[in-house]
């Protein structure tokens, strides 16, 4: 169905309310594609109405949160409507005794941390969100963004207990629940995490929280060789210490460990760990600087940022190859995952993917120039691609949501 931009604007104003709708501008571009209209709905009903209108008219909609990961991956085929979800803000329920919080998807991670980190509750959502506190909760889900503390607490996949979402046709549905253990029905949370806004628009999330540790300490081991990395990782995994991050930095050849807990336990365990591994415990001031640098590190210089994952025991082999790849890496050493930064040119991207796949792993594109995606991202196998297409076809048969953003010729 052909509609003029003006007609689309009129329909959207009726659906989401006039104040929620404005024309798209250059800064609204999604991986270079400029939306006709930007809709910032004030509530779930307006999200549903805007989506239903778009689907019935055949318009393409791209959801966005803070925009931090919006340009990652392939550009959308079309973007008639940019659905800005930052209007869905605020905590709906925080039951401190249950360590569970339900919030609207447009709330930022920083605001949520403030809400659950009150002196009375002292809790925290344990995601580093690629070091971007301005990220929204919906964005965390869409991108599966994690960080160094994944070693101790997992990723949004492990923390998302339930979600409310809107399908492309405007249907509002829920999955999971508000309890930490739940096997009733299919777990759609897992599919939503990392789906990049192609299956549904997440509008509310229920997340598992952790007690915010009273104290933490960083231990740094210098001069780590790639060959020694597996042995060090084994030692860390077996050491009598609660390690919540174990990040290997290349080419610095440095290992940064984070220990968390009570003041007494943290000091004792960090000291013992440093002695065992031949490292040093950083002072609080140095530790704070080191940690914030660690979070910013993959993003602070130009170049392509690529997510890598290898069998954990082979992280050392990946580190060994980084010299010839002329890349820098920040790897969660115990898990075999992390980010690698290389020059954003075809040859460098090809080499990186080749190296990672050769040691039994795979790559995903984070910050990569358009066209770099299919070079560097590991192609899912045909059966997986078929199931992905089927899921898209079942949940969004008109192809309204973020068309083309999955790459690989998927709708």
């Amino acid at each position: 169905m052909v509609s003029t931009a003006t007609e689309i604007g009129q329909v959207l104003r009726r659906a989401a309310g006039a104040p929620a709708v404005r024309p798209g501008t250059a800064p609204d571009r999604v991986a270079g594609v400029r939306p006709l209209w930007v809709v910032r709905p004030p509530g779930i009903d307006e999200v549903a109405a805007a989506l239903a209108a778009a689907t019935s008219h055949g318009w393409a909609v791209v959801p966005r949160g803070s925009g931090g990961g919006l340009d990652w991956g392939p550009a959308p085929h079309r973007c008639d409507v940019l659905l800005d979800l930052t209007g869905l803000d605020g905590v709906l329920e925080h039951v401190a005794g249950d360590l569970v919080v339900t919030a609207r998807a447009g709330m930022t991670v920083a605001a949520l941390q403030q809400a659950v980190g009150t002196p009375a509750a002292r809790q925290r959502l344990m995601v580093d969100a690629h070091g971007r506190p301005s990220a929204t909760l919906g964005g965390l889900v869409a991108t599966a963004a994690a960080g160094p503390r994944r070693h101790g607490y997992g990723t949004p996949r492990d923390l998302l207990l339930g979600a409310r979402f809107v399908l492309a046709d405007g249907t509002v549905a829920r999955t999971g629940g508000r309890v930490v253990k739940n096997v009733a029905g299919y777990d759609l949370c897992k599919l939503l995490v990392g789906s990049r806004g192609t299956l549904a628009v997440v509008v509310e999330v229920t997340l598992k929280l952790h007690p915010d540790p009273a104290h933490h300490a960083l231990v740094v081991v210098d001069g780590v060789s790639a060959a020694a990395l597996p042995g060090l990782v084994t030692a860390i995994r077996r050491a009598p210490a609660v390690v919540t991050a174990a990040q290997a930095l290349w080419p610095e050849r440095q290992l940064v460990l984070r220990v968390e807990g009570s003041r007494e336990a943290t000091i004792a365990e960090a000291g013992a760990l440093a002695r065992e591994l031949g490292g040093r415990v950083l002072t609080e001031a140095l530790g704070a600087r080191c940690w914030s640098r660690l979070l910013r590190r993959p993003w602070e210089r130009p170049g392509a940022v690529v997510g890598v994952a290898v069998p954990p025991g082979r992280a050392g082999e990946l580190a060994e190859r980084l010299g010839e790849l002329e890349g820098s890496a920040s790897l969660s050493a115990g898990l075999g995952v992390g980010t690698v930064r290389v020059a954003d040119d075809p040859a460098a991207l090809d080499r990186l993917r080749g190296a990672v796949e050769q040691i039994g792993g795979w790559c995903r594109a984070y910050r990569v120039s358009p066209g770099g995606f299919e070079r560097v991202a590991t192609r899912p196998e045909p059966g997986v691609l078929r199931l992905m297409a089927n899921l898209r076809g079942q949940l969004d048969p008109s192809g309204t949501l973020s068309p083309g953003r999955l790459g690989w010729g998927l709708p």
């Binding site: 096997v183 007690p211 069998p311 199931l387 949940l395």
Partner: protein
């Protein structure tokens, strides 16, 4: 001879011979007596004798078996050890059981990667045994771990007493080979994390065998903790024990396990296992693990929380022997019920931890109203209740009341924002209760997810998602299933 329904609607001879060609005639069971052994899982109240049982030995054979069945549109259900408690492995009278008990090889132990690759028929405990000497373990530990299989664990997203800190099956599976309902083989994930594309593996774990048959699984194993501290605390009232649970979690301690037993459960346990718990109306069994210093620190904190909540006694196991005695009591709980009741109905529901006291009080109320006893022995740390409704099966009216009480307990769980099931699954048993927890739209999305994997609906149909045919148009209305009317399935 009575005309047999098997003869009327039996396995078509062409299908039987095609299946024999795949697995060899020894591994296709069509004899009614042999098939009857597969008529139910651990929930024996739902039974249906399948047309046949086929036992493939490899992924390839499974693929060919599924292709043969799909070509004739014959529904099938995969089955492990059959220890499930929700009728998830209940066959259809017009369907086939694909038994995976011959696929029980541990294919590889990769300690550097903290991974073990297994076939689906490997038992849960065998995985831990394969890595014990190296100082590792497989974390999920359902109480049937000696016999239950990894394939079944994956289908049900099994938990266990020790999943409070380390998570459920879904957190410990990194890869799987899946045979789809049309016979296509898909490899999901592997030894590395974060595979490209949607997290399909996350959707398959816990899907109760409705999205395909898993023929190979990559599991994560974890190092054993350096130290373990085991405590028991006794309380005058179950509600006080429930409050202690919340207090412990709120203080920032995540125990490895946090189990609760109430008075009725304790009566049976003390008689059967002599764990020598301090006397009380409720006992908490708490296990902490980690570095030795931290373990001791947390044990002191937990003891303080229990005392503040009104514990009458709090005892730290002096050694490993005393700790195992404490656990022996908890582990003997279900079997011990025989000491105080001829039959019991196991319920499985979840509540937010902070609502434990009021739900326990509601259960007391139901006991009084219906004149039946309920023993509570459960995973208190994650709010997962396992009330055992005691009754005398020789009195049909008691059996009916027990069912009513079990259902009302679930209603009480849902009323405080809980869930129909924490680890046993929906299966066939709770199928018709799904609308109590999920809206029509929620269920529609699940139907679409299922259709993306199995558009023909051949893979374990009639589980997880209610249909008007199985549950009636409205909730709660019982209508005899066509199979029941035809006497090929019974409802006990």
């Amino acid at each position: 001879m009575t005309p047999s329904l098997d003869a009327a609607v039996g396995l078509p001879p062409a299908v039987a011979s095609a299946l024999r060609r795949v697995v060899g005639s020894a591994w296709l069971l069509t004899d009614p007596a042999a098939c009857t052994a597969y008529a139910c899982d651990g929930l024996t109240s739902w039974r249906a004798r399948p047309l046949a049982v086929v036992l493939p030995q490899t992924t390839d054979e499974t693929q060919q078996v599924v292709r043969v069945l799909a070509a004739s549109r014959i529904p099938f259900v995969a089955r492990g050890a059959g220890t499930g408690l929700s009728g998830g492995a209940l066959p259809r009278a017009d369907g086939v059981v694909v038994g995976l008990s011959r696929m029980r090889a541990i294919l590889g132990v990769h300690l550097q990667d903290e991974r073990v690759t297994v076939e689906p028929g490997v038992t849960n405990q065998a995985v831990t045994l394969a890595v014990t000497a190296a100082g590792y373990r497989y974390a999920p530990d359902p109480s049937s771990q000696q016999v239950c299989t990894i394939g079944g664990n994956l289908a049900e997203n099994s938990g266990g007493a020790h999943c409070l800190k380390l998570g459920f099956t879904t957190h410990h599976v990194t890869g799987a080979t899946l045979v789809l309902a049309d016979g296509e083989i898909v490899r999901l994930g592997g030894r590395a994390l974060d595979p490209p594309g949607f997290d399909l593996l996350g959707a398959v774990v816990g899907s109760e065998g409705t999205l395909g048959i898993v023929t190979e699984v990559v599991l994560r194993v974890v190092p054993r903790p350096a130290a373990v501290a085991t405590l028991v605390a006794a309380f005058d009232q179950a509600a006080a024990a429930g409050a202690a649970v919340s207090a412990i979690i709120a203080r920032g301690v995540i125990p490895a396990a946090l189990e609760m037993m109430d008075r009725t459960a304790l009566e049976a346990i003390e008689a059967a296992a002599h764990p020598d718990y301090p006397p009380g109306d409720a006992v908490l069994l708490i296990e902490l693990d980690g570095p030795p210093g931290r373990c001791a620190e947390e044990a002191a904190l937990v003891a303080a929380c229990c005392r503040a909540a009104g514990a009458t006694a709090c005892r730290l196991a002096a050694d490993g022997e005393e700790a195992s005695r404490f656990w022996r009591g908890r582990k003997a709980a279900f079997a011990a019920m025989g000491r105080i009741s001829p039959h019991y109905y196991v319920q499985d529901g979840v509540v937010p931890r902070t609502r434990l006291p009021e739900v326990l009080a509601a259960i007391r109320q139901l006991e009084a109203e219906h004149g039946l006893r309920v023993a509570n022995v459960f995973h208190a740390g994650d709010g997962n209740l396992h009330p055992l409704v005691l009754f005398d099966g020789s009195r049909p009216e008691q059996r009916r009341r027990a069912e009513v009480v079990a259902t009302r307990i679930l209603d009480a769980c849902l009323a405080v924002g809980g869930s129909l099931t924490g680890e046993h699954g929906i299966g066939r048993d709770k199928l018709c209760q799904m609308p109590k927890q999920f809206s029509v739209a929620d269920q529609m999305v699940m139907h679409r997810l299922r259709a993306a994997f199995d558009p023909q609906g051949l893979c374990n149909p009639g589980k997880v998602l209610p249909t008007p045919r199985l549950c009636g148009e409205g909730p709660g209305v019982y209508r005899p299933h066509p199979a029941e009317r035809a006497q090929v399935a019974e409802r006990w």
